[in-house]
Symmetry: C2
Subunit: 498 residues, 2 copies
């Protein structure tokens, strides 16, 4: 037997495979927690997840890792192994910055807050929610402080960097500042233009079972692999599980089917990214999705670039009619008008793609000072009300349910995530601009249901790359340029004012 | 702060709480594996469960435990703590007897075999199955060998002791030998007596959704706590999850509803035992169910003593009619006749309570020599065919699907478990004999739907006791005597010949 040339690197790979296998159980139990777990199981589940969180943290911060990382850096690694080692070091560094005690305490507080939130949101119970949110924010700030001390970034940037490595709030400010300039005007213009559109509202009720069957058919059309994933229900839709077994969720409303359908299409974009991450590296950090912004760029490629494409409604119509019967409102042009109807609304996940960035800007402008310690949880509702009025002209006073309690994120300790949605929308617009440049017939192909070119492009340029490249390099390789928000503006103007 | 009086015992408790929390994730992921997991997730799940199995084994065999166990034995423990320590030692001893390599290899082989079995059984593919079964048996024998060396028991007894602590095959031989004497005659007598009964067979199809709703109502009637558990579907019904969150499964056939209904009632017995284990000790081995025989005594108390009780069909009839409509076959007396119809059949889980022990004797007489190395997996079909002919007069040649491939047990490495079913039936008969002695109006109460006395008795004497007492002591405290198989015979004779 020959001596291995890269013993330290190989040892690191083995340790990461072990972490990958144990994380699998945590991911499945977390999915179950949101999709199936009955209420009296909550305490035990929270304790189990916290214990596992602590254990994974312990494995990820084992002092031996430091030495292995340093030794591996001296080994004769090829380019891919260098990238893999870079990702191992990134993961190691952020785990090491935070003490295990905090990881466990945070996991418990987040599980508790999220679990209570399900009832509290329904009951519009801000007073109850804020009591659970307070420790969640305290732990998030503490984590931000540790990460900040390690990285030298500001506290908020240190959290943002967990979801969007390399992104800084200065860049977000620049991009969102520009958006804030032209978005309100665009919303107004689009609304004026759409004012005369005749719109037929489909008549419910739409039984959940029929909506589910419709969602499954849409997932099939979009290439989801049902041998390696499922669709279930949860209070807040998400895409969880593991790359080998993706667990998507949605929710159904009797009086409307489009929210669930477009939500399912959104999550399918996340799901296909996960299902198509590079199998041969699976278990290593380099095989993971590059970033949350990139992840959202996939869900929004599916939901906005594809499903809201003028040619796509013609593909949806037969599926809708198969499961929900025939109605005038199901005509393709009407479905398209419904899916591209621009109107300020309370709920982010139900927002059209033009007003959506306003929801994100609002959250960004609250969570950033919250993490930086400039405001407290008690300040959230008033800020929410003011900004909602300012950005979308809506009154949310007293309506916590459809206001600052609508998202699961803050309650489970996700701060620094929201900007990724709008960055994702920008990346998605950039991907499709590139595809059109490379393949002028793209729009006709989509209208004919020839979606393979889109999926092949995404698989080739994004999915199969995992974390092989840092984000700017991945974006450059995929589209020939750095992040260019102008594509997003051009996309909106072309679709809504063109 | 005062010095703790029992530092070693307290440290053991903490370690067991940790194991309990991590096992939680394993239990939920195992449930999901059988109930929801898509096929391409199988490999990753198997690896994750094997990793966790290895980790739990490592935690349970940490060398520090030996010293803590010895130290704790010298501490001023009260009676309860002594019992708790006894159970910790039992768990430790059986974990220590087996090397971690074997635990992981076995887990992988079992997951693989069970996963393949789902298709192979449907395809009657014995040749394919036997290839997966061979390593499962090899590992089970290896485990038996290690346990045998540690305990001095025979190899089969060492496995039996894992499920039914204290039970030996000599005792099983005695009990089953007696059964083999009178059971065939009883089956004949009952069949002759029932030959003239007029029986109305309910006409399907019975939609799965309606059967599910019926099953849920039966579970409610039987006191299952839906805030702390669920009912789902799987190829092989089971009761899994954790005491804080019990996951039951069943399966539905279009053409028949009684199998699923009685199966659900059976699992509800397991479920209520788990849900009512002593909460204040939860996480310690002493809080676990006493044994698998005791566990089956609960499922059979529900399925056979209660559901097949002549007074219980009157409680079921309105539920059946609510969900499946009205039919002549749903009359209470007809339902009771259907549920107590004695007829040799291929499938153990569908068997009536009179022929059921024959299925168990058959399996016992095969698995024992298989583990002792007296026969090989290739010998199973011929032995199965011969014994099925001998015990129940049925021809199973070539029908592996409804023959030796029908159970999940052997494929997942469960050897030494089958006797527990019939021991459970005997215990259940003994519980109800005791209840009747203490409460002469019991049968009228059951017929009136007053089930609380039964549940209170079981909760008080069995569920809430966990593993506080070793089996003979538990049985004596519950019923005033040791295991007495005569109660089972009397029960069958009273119900079927009375």
């Amino acid at each position: 037997m020959s001596t291995p040339r890269t013993p330290a690197y190989d040892a690191l790979c083995q340790r990461h495979q072990r972490i990958h296998r144990l994380s699998h159980l945590q991911s499945i139990a977390s999915w179950d927690q949101s999709a199936f777990m009955p209420s009296r199981g909550a305490q035990a589940r929270a304790e189990a997840l916290a214990e596992m969180g602590g254990l994974l943290h312990q494995l990820g911060t084992d002092p031996a890792l430091k030495q292995l990382l340093d030794e591996a850096a001296q080994e004769p690694l090829d380019d891919f192994q260098r990238a893999s080692l870079r990702e191992m070091r990134r993961v190691w560094r952020s785990a090491n910055a935070v003490p295990q005690r905090l990881v466990e305490a945070r996991s418990l507080a987040n599980s508790h807050c999220e679990h209570e939130w399900r009832q509290q949101r329904a009951a519009n119970d801000w007073a109850g929610y804020v009591e659970n949110l307070r420790p969640v924010v305290r732990y998030a700030r503490e984590e931000a402080q540790y990460l900040s001390e390690d990285s030298g970034l500001s506290r908020y940037d240190a959290l943002l960097d967990q979801y969007e490595p390399g992104m800084r709030s200065a860049e977000v400010d620049r991009v969102f500042g520009d958006l804030r300039q032209w978005l309100p005007g665009l919303i107004r213009q689009v609304m004026e233009r759409q004012a005369g559109d005749s719109l037929v509202h489909p008549q419910g009720p739409f039984p959940a079972a029929a909506q589910r069957a419709l969602g499954l058919d849409a997932m099939k059309l979009l290439g989801f692999d049902f041998e390696a994933g499922r669709l279930d229900e949860s209070a807040h839709p998400f895409c969880g599980g593991v790359p080998e077994d993706v667990r998507m969720t949605t929710r159904y409303r009797d009086d409307s089917f489009l929210q669930s359908l477009t939500g399912t299409i959104h999550e399918t974009g996340h799901g296909r990214y996960e299902q198509n991450l590079p199998r041969e590296w699976l278990g290593l950090p380099v095989a993971r999705a590059r970033s949350m912004g990139l992840h959202e760029s996939q869900s929004l490629s599916f939901e906005m670039q594809l499903a809201a494409h003028p040619g796509f409604a013609g593909l949806l119509q037969p599926l809708v009619e198969r499961h929900l019967g025939r109605q005038r409102g199901f005509a393709a042009d009407n479905l398209h008008r419904l899916m591209t109807r621009v109107a300020p609304g309370y709920i982010r996940v139900d927002a059209d793609e033009v007003t959506y960035p306003a929801h994100v800007i609002l959250r960004y402008e609250i969570e950033r000072p919250l993490i930086e310690g400039e405001i407290e949880v008690e300040d959230i509702p008033a800020l929410w009300d003011r900004k909602m009025q300012e950005l979308l002209g809506l009154d949310t006073r007293g309506n916590y349910k459809d206001g600052c309690m609508q998202d699961v994120h803050w309650g489970c300790g996700l701060y620094g995530y929201f900007p990724c949605y709008t960055l994702g929308a920008m990346y998605a617009a950039q991907w499709f601009a590139t595809m059109r440049r490379e393949r002028p017939a793209l729009d006709e192909e989509i209208a004919r249901g020839e979606l393979a070119p889109v999926f092949d492009w995404l698989k080739d340029r994004i999915w199969s790359q995992g974390s092989r490249w840092e984000t700017p390099e991945l974006v450059r390789r995929a589209s020939g340029e750095a992040l260019e928000p102008a594509h997003f503006r051009r996309h909106l103007e072309a679709r809504y004012l063109g």
